[in-house]
Symmetry: C2
Subunit: 356 residues, 2 copies
């Protein structure tokens, strides 16, 4: 942290270029975050992207004429379909990579980007070193359930998680659920294919043993099934980045399919049409509730600095909400508590013998 601001202030680098709605929406989101008071008087918001363009867009928002707002130029943009490796190798001057470089250099405390998830996860993992005690970061999504929300992680950073990575996900997700959802003692469940011990294979069994061995260091409620996640079985669903990503994408695909089916059905029959018109606000609400990534942003937990992914289609409200969520995730003494929890987890991992 630099000298100019008080120790409690945070510097947020906002990648303004990667979203589907373009930089004007990112700038509007930044203005909203200031107006809503998400960005405190000691915080700094650094708008990263094509500087001339951003300054022109910012001129429309009086609230952005503030000492709290800075600009950082980036000549290029990461496109939604750019391969992750291409971005890392040949888009060093993109707003995403420049924002990550600022994080790496300590010029920012957190990065928020609406850009290409795969590129952000890959570049974030390479550019920012893991938190002490962690090996691989996990992308943590906040998802809706019957009542309220839950945290699911990993939704796409580490597809081949080992038991120790899953245990790290459990402790990191537990602390994130406290800060982001305000749940005091989050119940942690391990996603599996059955709740009997011994189901799910060797990797899940070892993880289950380790999580049980954590004792009162974590509120572990045991294995949970896919069916349970939208119920009230737990507040943190732990899984590997392959399964979690597939679930997230499949749910998103299903929501789009339902929307299309409803649309078609409604048009096919006058009875449905009358009902459909009355139901539109409800269907829109449901669609919003069921689009998991819309809930603010998804942080990459387990890195020494915070990288947060916001949905590509984020509007100004979603961008402001991602800023708020990012500041909450780095607040509440979360970083120190994650370091302590990882050390405790690693002590349990190294002292718990592998079963036969």
């Amino acid at each position: 942290m630099s000298e100019e601001i008080t120790p409690t202030g945070k510097k947020i680098a906002l990648d303004c270029m990667g979203g589907d709605l373009g930089p004007s929406e990112a700038i509007a989101g930044a203005a909203l975050a200031i107006r809503e008071g998400f960005i405190g008087p000691n915080d700094k918001l650094i708008l990263v992207g094509h500087e001339d363009n951003l300054r022109q867009l910012a001129a429309e928002h009086r609230v952005l004429k503030s000492k709290r707002v800075e600009f950082k130029h980036a000549a290029t943009v990461v496109n939604p379909d750019d391969a992750a490796m291409t971005v890392i190798k040949s888009k060093r001057d993109s707003s995403m990579l420049i924002a990550l470089d600022m994080l790496k250099a300590g010029q920012a405390d957190l990065v928020i980007s609406t850009g290409n998830t795969k590129a952000l996860v890959a570049a974030g993992t390479i550019k920012v070193r893991p938190m002490e005690g962690a090996e691989r970061p996990a992308l943590a999504a906040i998802m809706p359930r019957r009542e309220g929300h839950f945290v699911m992680l990993d939704v796409g950073a580490n597809p081949e998680a080992k038991p120790e990575h899953l245990v790290h996900n459990a402790v990191l997700g537990s602390i994130y659920a406290q800060s982001a959802l305000g749940i005091t003692n989050p119940r942690v469940g391990l996603l599996s294919v059955g709740t009997e011990e011994g189901k799910g294979g060797a990797r899940i069994n070892r993880t289950h043993t380790l999580l049980k061995a954590m004792g009162d260091k974590i509120n572990y409620v045991g294995p949970v099934e896919g069916f349970d996640v939208f119920g009230d079985a737990c507040d943190v669903v732990v899984t590997d980045g392959f399964t979690g990503n597939v679930i997230l994408k499949t749910l998103e695909g299903l929501v789009y399919m339902v929307r299309d089916m409803v649309g078609k059905k409604v048009k096919s029959n006058p009875v449905y049409l009358a009902g459909g018109i009355a139901m539109f606000p409800l269907l829109r609400d449901l669609k919003g509730k069921l689009k998991p990534e819309k809930y603010g942003g998804a942080p990459l937990l387990g890195l020494s600095s915070l990288v947060m992914k916001a949905h590509g289609s984020s509007n100004r409200q979603s961008i402001a909400s991602a800023i708020r969520l990012g500041l909450e995730a780095v607040g509440h003494d979360a970083n120190r508590r994650m370091l302590v929890a990882l050390a405790e987890a690693n002590a349990v991992i190294s002292s718990t013998p592998e079963e036969e």
Copy 2:
């Protein structure tokens, strides 16, 4: 096959006891399957369960007074929450295990059960030997998409599938999609977390290499993401039994959540109520369409005889449809074609070197 029936006839053992709606619904499903002509004149339907009970229920359906219908007594029942290992060890006299024993002994050509999935998968895998060339069976579900249906496998038999198992799933699922969905040259996709090569980890990469090496033996279209499965990317989605089971259960959980949310919303607001009443038939249709296991049954592919799981909540129509689907799955020369395809796949697997 016994001498009394012609070589084209099949003997179906129907476990009548495990469904949520009880044996009366299973018996009604059996009667419907005969009335609908699903069971041919040379086929035999063996009703397995408490014989006195079943005979009494069958007396209500004139169509069941047929030489095509037989009874097989079983003293006990597998309960929905019985642990798989408990069933195998201590419920040998249950309708499920007796039906599987008939399959093992060649007294039946296929078993259909609405009972406890985990017990059926575990007991089926132990009782019935794998098809030559296969190692572990895969549970194949037919699921709805925007237009029509697709096959997803494995949805729960083999949680820790190796690349060779995934390749077996690909060829078995392809043949099943031909017989069950009537798709001539099904497009096969490998579920992954990105469509770039190299995403998804070593296991997915090796499977991708092997499937490409299959050449024109299979219509492999490459990796698909969760988002694509409800679109038109492919007809057969190949995955391991952990991921597939979690997807299936999560989707089911989501559908129930949506139903509850819609119900609550509709009651909360007179505008929604008016719309909701008009929309009820639509919502019921959607619920039916989105409950994946309702589409007939899910066969355990890769065993030397067919074991088919029908949904626990199956009504008579679903049970009749599972019987039809089971007969289709063992028809079309499917068994011989699966043996040929597995041999071809194994030749490719053993001749394709592991990459560095």
